[in-house]
């Protein structure tokens, strides 16, 4: 070994690195898991464990090059688990996770090269393949050890839907014109996907991640702001279609997506202007789909749609070079 080492400048670096960012996000999912177990019982743990493990195994299988240990596959799997309904058969979760990592991520060329948010792509796949199972909601707080019967169903055995289905706040609003108590949505004791119900905790996690600079704050802020703004306007004009801003913000997958999905650096714009645009676009789509679409919830499609136009956003929001013409 020579006494001297030649490396390129700069010789000092910001301490944040990519695996660390992944770890931060994974770490912030832990309290959410605990909360989810309190609301839905042990099934939360099972589902997330299954999707997480499947993701890691899939990555090992499909990537030829030495795994980078950047934690991104695990993160994809965990995120997918949290956006699935609690009563979904576990094998479906596993299938979705394999799809998310195998096709949503690895097929594009691995971390950094995928266009769509892989976890949401996995969920979209499940939604298309098993529309019924994906829209059947288990009521919260059924008892910690009580597993929805179909959770452990064998693959392709045509799981019958239990009678214990409940309405999500958004579903209730859309199909029955019901409003859910705001406090329930904040605490998280409503029906919904595993990780999305406890709004207060999601806000806390989001703040922590923002302080740790794990993501760019502009993305969630612009998303939430545009949802609030547009729903405020729409609620005033067509109240029967559009819920009030607080319900909009506190219900469904919005807060979870704002903290964990629209903040995914890979599938969102790199430019500052682009980030604002992405957030506003997502927020507007969420409100429009929720209010005028056939489905009660539209966060997933909103984010995926914006993912699709991200390369285009990047192209048209190139920063103006310092000292360049305006």
């Amino acid at each position: 070994m020579s006494k001297l080492l030649l490396v390129s400048s700069p010789f000092v670096r910001d301490e944040r690195n990519t695996p660390q960012l992944m770890r931060d996000v994974i770490g912030s999912l832990v309290p959410i898991l605990i909360m989810s177990m309190w609301v839905f019982g042990v099934i939360a743990l099972l589902m997330v464990a299954v999707t997480g493990a499947t993701a890691v195994v899939t990555e090992r299988l499909v990537t030829s090059k030495r795994s980078l240990h950047d934690g991104s596959a695990l993160l994809t799997g965990l995120l997918l688990g949290f956006v699935l309904p609690p009563g979904l058969p576990l094998w479906m979760g596993a299938l979705g996770s394999a799809f998310a990592v195998g096709l949503g991520k690895a097929a594009f060329g691995g971390l950094g090269a995928n266009i769509f948010n892989p976890a949401l792509l996995g969920r979209a796949f499940l939604q298309a393949a098993f529309p019924e199972a994906m829209t059947t909601w288990v009521a919260p707080q059924m008892g910690f050890w009580q597993l929805p019967e179909r959770s452990l169903a064998w693959p392709l055995m045509g799981s019958h839907v239990d009678g214990i289905s409940a309405a999500t706040p958004l579903g209730g609003f859309k199909f029955q014109g019901l409003t859910t108590d705001l406090s329930e949505m904040v605490v998280g004791t409503t029906a919904g996907s595993l990780g999305e119900t406890a709004t207060w905790l999601l806000v806390l996690c989001g703040l922590w991640l923002a302080l740790r600079k794990a993501f760019d704050w502009r993305l969630p802020v612009s998303t939430l702001f545009s949802v609030a703004l547009l729903s405020w306007v729409l609620h005033a004009t067509v109240p029967e279609r559009c819920a009030d801003p607080m319900t909009m913000l506190g219900s469904g997958g919005l807060m979870f997506a704002a903290v964990f999905m629209v903040t995914d650096p890979v599938t969102t714009p790199v430019t500052a202007k682009g980030m604002w645009l992405f957030g506003f676009g997502t927020g507007v789509l969420v409100v429009l789909i929720r209010s005028f679409g056939g489905l009660p919830e539209g966060v997933m499609y909103a984010v995926l749609l914006m993912n699709a136009v991200t390369p285009w956003i990047n192209r048209f929001t190139q920063p103006r070079v310092f000292g360049g013409l305006a």
Binding site: M1, S2, K3, L4, L5, L6, V7, S8
Partner: protein, 271 residues
């Protein structure tokens, strides 16, 4: 769905008509031999002939602005065929080959430091000129091998690029790729090579590389009148095409070499 298919078909029809009409009226008459000759060329568009591509060279050939032998990639028979087709002289065919002007591979030239970073010569050269004590020397990170479209370059165990003369078409890509400008294209018939580019002399040169030219000038003296001169510490061959090896006899380091075929052939056998 059906509607849009009809629409597309309609559009195709409209544009197709416009194009064919335009072709009729705007068509420039072109010597049909150009296409034929272009087909006879190798089609690798390597640029060794000095033209941007094979077709451009074909145009030159047809207008007699170039000679078929100017294509160094084609085999001799192919060149003769083109010459016969055009009814012209094939021209003098000088087989050029890329030669490296450095012999200081691993174990022969001293490393002043260790380099860590992007693994290309171009990147390494930007960090204080690279890790070699001799700043003119080959960095051994194979930019030339990557650049060569004909797979004519292999790195040897001393991390020096060895150019295979039969595969080398003298396209010059390695000349461009090397950040230390170590390659030149030389006639293969000219075996005398100076395998060093360091202008340093004496102890300064010897201290950093065992195969460096230290500027002693013996080769110039031994080569005979008017064959070589010393310029800035290095011998320069002014009159090529040698048959006598005399210049190499007393070189203390082997920096001046007699190469028939590949460079470093002896080295390659050694390990």
């Amino acid at each position: 769905m059906g509607m849009s298919i009809f629409l597309m078909l309609g559009l195709a029809l409209v544009f197709g008509t416009i194009l064919s009409v335009a072709h009729r009226f705007l068509h420039v008459d072109e010597d049909p031999r150009i296409d034929t000759v272009a087909d006879m060329l190798p089609g690798s568009n390597c640029g060794a002939c000095g033209e941007p591509g094979c077709r451009a060279f074909a145009e030159k050939l047809v207008s007699a602005a170039a000679q078929p032998a100017g294509c160094s990639v084609s085999a001799t028979e192919q060149v003769d065929e083109i010459a016969a087709f055009l009814g012209v002289d094939a021209g003098e065919r000088v087989k050029l080959v890329a030669r490296l002007h450095c012999g200081g591979g691993r174990g022969l030239a001293l490393n002043a430091a260790e380099y860590s970073g992007m693994s290309t010569c171009g990147a390494a050269a930007l960090v204080n000129g690279g890790n070699k004590a001799c700043e003119w020397g080959c960095l051994g990170l194979a930019d030339c091998q990557v650049a060569c479209t004909f797979d004519a370059i292999q790195m040897n165990e001393r991390l020096l690029p060895v150019v295979h003369p039969d595969l080398c078409t003298a396209c010059g890509d390695c000349v461009v790729a090397c950040p230390k400008d170590l390659f030149t294209l030389e006639p293969i018939s000219q075996p005398l090579l100076v395998q060093c580019k360091a202008p340093t002399t004496g102890e300064a040169a010897r201290a950093v590389c065992t195969v460096a030219c230290d500027g002693c000038g013996r080769c110039v003296a031994d080569a005979g009148e008017g064959v070589m001169v010393m310029e800035q510490g290095l011998p320069v061959i002014v009159q090529p095409l040698l048959t006598s090896r005399s210049a190499t006899f007393r070189c203390p380091s082997g920096a001046i070499a007699w190469v028939e075929g590949s460079q470093f052939a002896f080295e390659a056998m050694e390990v």
